[in-house]
Symmetry: C2
Amino acid sequence: MGRFTLPGEAGMEKEIKELMEKWGVDAIRDSDGTSLSEELLELGLEVYSTLCLIRMDNEWIKKHPECRQQIYLLSERYTATEQGLKINIMSHLYGEQFEPNTDVDMNKYWQVMDRTSGERVVDWTYDEEEKSITVKNAAPFHEYDVAFLAYQNWEPVSMYNHITNNWTKEHKIPIDVRHPEAGDHILKVLQEWLETHPKTDVVRFTTFIYCFDLIYNERGKEKQVNWFGYAACVSPLAMEQFAKEYGYELTPEDFVDNGMYNTPFKNPTKKYLDWMDFNQRFVSEYAGKCVSLVHKYGKKAIMFLGDHWAGTEPYGKYFKSIGLDAVVGAAGDGVTTRMIADIPVKETEARFYPYFFPDVFHKGGDPVKESQEIWVKCRRAILQKPMERMGYGGYLSLAYKFPDFVTHVSDVARQFNEIYEKTNGRGCDKTGIRIAVLNTWGRIRTWQTHQVAHSLWNQRCYSYLGALEALAGLPVEISFVSFDDIKNGDIDSDTDIILNVGDAGTSWSGGDNWSDEAVVAKIRRFVYQGGGFIGIGEPTAYLREGRLFALADVMGVQKEMGFTASINKPEHSEQGRKHFITEGIAGKIDYGEGTGMIYRASETATVLDTENRSCSLVVNEYGEGRSLYMAGCPYDHRNSGILYRALFWLSKREEDAGRWLTGNTTIERNTIDDGRIAVYTNQSGEDQSICLKSGRILALDPYEMKIIEE
Amino acid sequence: MGRFTLPGEAGMEKEIKELMEKWGVDAIRDSDGTSLSEELLELGLEVYSTLCLIRMDNEWIKKHPECRQQIYLLSERYTATEQGLKINIMSHLYGEQFEPNTDVDMNKYWQVMDRTSGERVVDWTYDEEEKSITVKNAAPFHEYDVAFLAYQNWEPVSMYNHITNNWTKEHKIPIDVRHPEAGDHILKVLQEWLETHPKTDVVRFTTFIYCFDLIYNERGKEKQVNWFGYAACVSPLAMEQFAKEYGYELTPEDFVDNGMYNTPFKNPTKKYLDWMDFNQRFVSEYAGKCVSLVHKYGKKAIMFLGDHWAGTEPYGKYFKSIGLDAVVGAAGDGVTTRMIADIPVKETEARFYPYFFPDVFHKGGDPVKESQEIWVKCRRAILQKPMERMGYGGYLSLAYKFPDFVTHVSDVARQFNEIYEKTNGRGCDKTGIRIAVLNTWGRIRTWQTHQVAHSLWNQRCYSYLGALEALAGLPVEISFVSFDDIKNGDIDSDTDIILNVGDAGTSWSGGDNWSDEAVVAKIRRFVYQGGGFIGIGEPTAYLREGRLFALADVMGVQKEMGFTASINKPEHSEQGRKHFITEGIAGKIDYGEGTGMIYRASETATVLDTENRSCSLVVNEYGEGRSLYMAGCPYDHRNSGILYRALFWLSKREEDAGRWLTGNTTIERNTIDDGRIAVYTNQSGEDQSICLKSGRILALDPYEMKIIEE
């Protein structure tokens, strides 16, 4: 039985028949830029059809330009000199993507701001020809910027595909179905489509309505990317409906947010939470209608997580009401794999990398290597939480030219199936250790912390996300809890360890939540009474009266912010790395970009490592509980190994560790059926071996997985 | 003619006669632990006598314990558990130094604080036996601390000497002359002393009344050291007088300041500025009386900068009223040398390191090396601002055992004299470049930034202080200006370059002064119209709405704080180090602990260097002006060289640079008499050479100085 969705392509019929066998293909799909031939539709495969509702009728939207999707944009900042100030609002934005909306009451929907005084400017004019704002009485040497509504004349994902593949097709304009006539029209289009596509078994929505924040600069390159943004949900209509429902009006500043665009990296305002909720309800309701329609035609409805998924919030409270049969998403590492796998839905499907696009599948490219390094991260995650299906995207004709890759994918598919089947879809045994990842967002951002978009590497973020990547593949239970959960209730009695990781002030660390005495006291009590705490980077950070870490007592470390240089700091202990959590860990630990000026702040703290005179690895005992501080934790087998050992130490299960650890951090061990079967995976690109308890040597090829009855 | 003050020691008469010749000794002094014999007094040398007024009469203070000096102390923080809370207030303080003052109304003068809620606790009891506070209804898992007044039973400088030299003498108790009977008594003691010491020519006060903050921990080691502190000026009497004069009362928290003790690293509160002023006036007035008395006896009065100098503030507005004839201070580097040399007083004297103490002058010690490395830094400063006198401290009998050192000091003294005489005490020619060091304190902290005490190395501080160290020895005019100077007036029209250096939030960077739109606009205008700006570390930092640097536009850089990770940052330019300011500078630049996540924020900015993916050296053009950003600037010849070149570039005097630079950053060139005489100094411990304009090669031995008529 296969679990494999193949991107089909007319003209590849022979090859696809071959791959049905080799890869276990049981479903075939089209995509933006490909179509399926009659012959392909007759192969007996399940047929997936990709639908992007909001770009399905370009003729209609051209006739109803008022129904185009919109977005709030912020110009760059400009400094006024003695000579006054003119701001070209589009100078750093892509003219083909956006068109300033001058149809509205510009005094209300546009905003000119003096960023030096923080005051909104009222006296300005707009030159439509030049697309420039003139501030009449600008204060010399103050900075100004302009927030304005813009129509979206080019749907940004389609635009990305267009530019990447050098298409010359017409630009697709996104339709805003919040306009009743647009909403009705698109439902009608969908119905017609369903009528005329009887061979489709599964409708794969990409996704429903609004794209995440994807703003291109004047050269057509990404300027602003926020996978979790709601900036493109906006329109005067939405703002009016919002005001009516919530009793207050949103202003342009509520959207552009001084250039932060309400990034999830910051603690959200009440207004922004309202705005998210408002859009989630609308999106879920409309998407629910689409799904019902699909079901009415006897087809399944699934959604692609990514692209136009704003407001669907798979971990939000309205997601279930959409009624989807499955979710498919790009699995680029363990974190994004778990982000899809853990969604509360009947089935999930991983679309693995690399995409069959010319950037990897070109002469001299090494798609096998690209795939292997990602696959072994995804595999760790799937071992904990198997997924029902897998697949790839892009052009099969490109990938098929690489026979090694074809063979490699056979192996990936075999492993994928084996994991699912051996574990009956339930995943490997768990250690019983339960970790609560604590940040401002909690559950709604499950596996969605510290990232700008779909496992794209980001500076400094990697130093934090690595801890989540490690956990994604360890046999532990993970929950994502918010400060509100702790304020409004108790810490779940099942919790063994609380993890707080991130930069000071960010939502991931928690910002001003750490000024809440109830939160601080509850967590202190939790640890004091025997709980575990992991802090990475600038955990529990809220700068108050010169002190940064609210839980310096729990962690045994504090960060010198420059206000207590006069205080002689306690000596680092001389213990070095002799500790349970670093046992058998060789080599220099990589803390990524790390955190500086961390000093030992408690006599009970033990400094295991330092970097640039700053404590980088510290354990502490606090009452009956224990704590671990790390200056940063990029993902690698060494850090994953330290973290894994630390979980046993923090939860006082040191004696259990032997059952789980292999003594070689590049070889991970999972078990099935309460230990009856062992799964050994080599995470490295080198041959590795370990000595099993039986005394036998187990050798693994690079990246190999071996399942053994023990 | 000599300019050399020697620490005399009975029994060293023969050696001293020899050194009078070798070192040019013309004055002799006693010190804590040494005395001068009759023979020494008859050598024809000027006689300096060291007086520490507040420890001159131990018998009297033992009879008047209410007149002991006091201090506010803060206990450590303790977490309350379910079992209530008892705090031993002295557990981390030195019992021989402090005695809690229970003679006062403890409800008023003591303070128990819930640091988790920020509220003062009223319900507590004190156990005098145990020296413990019990908080009756402590909130579980809140942290508490205790601020309390304490008598000082051991004067901390004397204590340091005592412990270091293993003395068994009686502990000296410091007298608070604010008590009228104590003040009168000490003036009487001084008068008697003057009567009975006719051979003394110069009274050297160390210093007058209150010691800087010097708090020892339970093991007798420094716990808190703040050279600029006023914590030890406190007493209930002072607080009462203050309340009467200022119309409001100070609380314990105003002194302990949550453990920061009003460090100069933070922006001062209005209350603290009042407290400083209140004490400066008292100290200056009392010191003035002492100085008048000394003058009445035909002797000179000088003060040692350090020890009990709190409130004298040599760069403050009351200093001149003391009427001193000279100031002497420890010269440990260029910065501290200038700190003394620039004091507006008739004469200044440098007490060079090393101190003749056993920590350096022991078998196997290398006092010459210790001295050389410090001397070449001090020499740079003296070349700019010569000092009238030099000297050493400690026990001559120790130093005399090192003949190499005796020879070396002859050389130092020769150079010292030569610099003074060749420049007629006015210093070398100046480039004409004028730099304003901008911080919250301005003039009163001239050469007193970023240090905990007398050129002691401090983590991270060295990365900032290095810039000042470089400037201390360059032929430029330096002024220290405050934000208030800029708010209340204009930027001095003579200013070429503004320098802002330090950590975000600190007084050195400026903290919330950067939220002041007038300050920001005035500095923008200054640069825009042609001024120069140097930012080091986290300059112009005030975190507002996710943005840190207020003058990101001027500097062309911004720091990512975690709130704009979604914004793609401009590419670094590929220029590398090809720029005027890095011309001829080889090797890796040391930014010390540096600053991370700095990105290019302006299209006009040029990134000359990066470190760990963060911009570390950036130049920018802003209107007619120019800016330099450095991630850190420890002092070394390379950074000093870059900074020097940058001064020419920033002030658009590139064409002048050739006259001043040698092309080898280890050899510095100064000139005298408008260029007629050149002074070449080798700052390194290796042989160095350069090619002079004449074509001749100039070679210098390690650390050598050569004065040449050109």
